[in-house]
Symmetry: C2
Subunit: 413 residues, 2 copies
């Protein structure tokens, strides 16, 4: 048992906004904070009793009862059975109520679109993946297409009597802090107010609509659903045609001043190396991306099968392919060495196609990363492979919605 964790001076700090002036607190904040504390506790320790919550959080039993009643009113918690065969009065166990709400995440990419809905527990309610000509239509048409999918997801949720808590869209590109896509080369987008346009297209949807970079959201997915021992400092790497990073430090996504952090794909790894579509040379994306294996002009639709072929050849011991994979891993490790030195995350998670290639790249890349880290043992940084599969960004988009609930924006009542 953890025992009470109450620590004398509690710091209440505004982490989000930049210079948005002073942020005083009042009683409703205390309430919101404590409601969120209980909610998070139940999420991580379900099923548990009110007494468990009180003991572990340090909150008073009476307070916990009141908070739990509130959460039950809001249909966020549910009482399940009683404990049996124990000394003392049996406890009524509490679990998250999975049925009344849904969080929706949509990932758009050049050639496909993934939609995911999860309940409050994070359990997947639906997962759609379909071809989507994101790279070959106008942004307006793409937004219309995304809105169409969003409407169908929402309808489905409504049919299941679920209230949608929010919708987030993941985009491979630079997304600013307002959810406006400033640049998405692969999509051919520039200055598209995705969150705003989508909210407009959905006509007063009754839930918040936001957009973010796919790597950022992948990182959020790993933070919430990944099994990294509760690491609060992690970096997630997408391994699609482009390579991007999502940076989580001290338990929150760090986007930088304008929201453009994590753009690891175009840092220079091999000076004077092969040219990148961005106009520079030797970018990580070029020397540690799929292009190393597939040649530089594969159509998006072919990537999947081409990678499968690479995997097959690697399995049969094809020397040329193994050499390519080793080169890729080495270059990736160089990039990760930079990340380890600069950010000292507890774990770096490889996503996307890197997952399939993992058996041939992780060891080398990790060794390279650690050998380049100035901190002994890489400062404790591990390199692991994502277990979330292809929907990571979409899942992270949904996770972003759940995050806002977890941090005190409670629905209901």
């Amino acid at each position: 048992m953890m025992g009470p964790t109450r620590n004398g001076a509690q710091l209440i700090t505004n982490t989000q906004g930049s210079a948005s002036g002073p942020q005083p607190a009042d009683f409703t904040d205390v309430r919101a904070t404590n409601l969120a504390v209980v909610l998070r506790f139940v999420r991580e320790n379900a099923p548990c009793s009110r007494a468990d919550i009180a003991a572990s959080t340090g909150l008073n039993k009476a307070t916990v009862s009141s908070l739990v009643a509130d959460l039950i009113d809001r249909r966020l918690l549910r009482e399940t059975g009683l404990t049996e065969n124990r000394v003392g009065r049996p406890a009524t166990m509490l679990v998250l109520d999975g049925s009344p709400y849904a969080a929706v995440g949509i990932e758009v990419n050049v050639d496909y679109l993934t939609a995911v809905a999860v309940d409050l527990k994070g359990e997947e309610l639906l997962s759609w993946r379909r071809a989507f000509p994101g790279g070959s239509t106008s942004a307006g048409q793409a937004v219309a297409g995304i809105a169409g999918v969003a409407r169908r997801v929402v309808n489905r949720m409504t049919k299941e009597a679920r209230q949608v808590l929010g919708l987030t869209v993941a985009v491979p590109g630079l997304v600013d802090l307002n959810g406006s896509v400033r640049l998405a080369p692969n999509m051919g987008w520039r200055d598209v107010d995705l969150a705003g346009d989508l909210a407009k297209a959905l006509r007063d949807p009754g839930f918040p609509v936001s957009a973010d970079n796919d790597a950022n959201l992948g990182a959020l997915a790993e933070l919430r659903f990944g099994s990294h021992g509760g690491a609060q400092n992690l970096v997630y790497l997408t391994g699609e045609i482009g390579v991007g990073a999502g940076v989580v430090l001290d338990g929150r996504l760090r986007r930088g001043g304008a929201g453009f952090g994590g753009e690891i794909g175009h840092i220079e790894i091999v000076p004077g190396g092969p040219p990148c579509h961005c106009g520079r040379h030797g970018c990580l994306e070029v020397v540690a991306g799929l292009g190393v294996l597939l040649g530089h002009s594969v159509s998006p639709a072919e990537v999947e099968s081409e990678i499968d072929e690479v995997v097959q050849r690697a399995e049969t011991g094809d020397e040329a392919v193994l050499a390519q994979l080793d080169t890729l891993a080495g270059n990736l490790g160089r990039g990760l060495g930079i990340v380890a030195n600069l950010l000292n995350p507890e774990v770096v998670v490889l996503g996307g196609y890197y997952v399939k290639l993992a058996p041939w790249i992780v060891a080398r890349a990790e060794q390279e990363m650690l050998s380049r880290s100035i901190a002994p043992g890489g400062g404790g940084c591990r390199l692991v492979v994502s277990g979330l599969g292809y929907g990571a960004a979409a899942l992270g988009a949904a996770a972003r919605v759940l995050d806002s609930v977890d941090s005190g924006r409670l629905p209901g009542v």
Copy 2:
């Protein structure tokens, strides 16, 4: 005037500790938060009246009166004169009380030691700089030496009737989250529990003692004392014999999982470049550090004068020196390009000897940085020179003490 900034849903979140369990809030937290809000407001808007505070923070007038009374009791605020020649009742103006407290920062380095004390306003009370054989004594002796200086600073403060709020020591090396120095090659230290040993040497000093990396503390100094338009995302670069970075994102120092973040000095900038004392090649420290200008084995004591000579030669247009400076700037820009892409800070601040060299390196380095950034216009990232002078890390060490006050750990009563 700003007008009320009260925003409906206030998020109260624990930013510091990692997985330290749930952190419920209670009334004392509300009080502490609001006291800190008022304190910060007065810091930034002094002199100001209670009415100003109420209007700008959204707190109730009565609440502000109560909070201000509390802060005056704690001798953190002081009433100054009344306003005159205005319609209505004259306001009693409030300012930070500079006299009763002091925050102490000490920076140790290979050959010198800097001690700084500031009052609550951040105004310098003393600034000592002296030779110190940090690189050529045992860690134990060094700690004793630091303790000696610390005692003298504390005595001086006591003589001025000031209470010392805390002491932080800046060290060029890897410092973990507990203030233990894990590795400081230049000092020849390894696993020295600096914060702990120093507290012991000071025998129950009655104030918290901590230690951190010099670059981290430099970044804190820039955050508090620098003039960067309130940028909440910044990276500070030390330009001593080694090069380190301090990373501030969303208004707080981000140290990574073990506290070893910001180690930019040993990321590989020129593969196969000149050897570094760390055993690797082409590290930023080697290709964009002072070694480029001074040759690789200058004794610490000579650095100052050697740099002055470089500056003189550059001023007279010495081609060879200008070429070296340009090379240095180019390499520095490469490293900063990585920082801009990965972290998207609003500003990168150059400290240490880079300040003297600024006229010949900033333009080139910034251009290089921006040209390497994938976000248009570098995502708004500017490269500037520190205005804080040599004592930056020591000043940041003191700033760290003030930060803890600003975030609610109030002294007095």
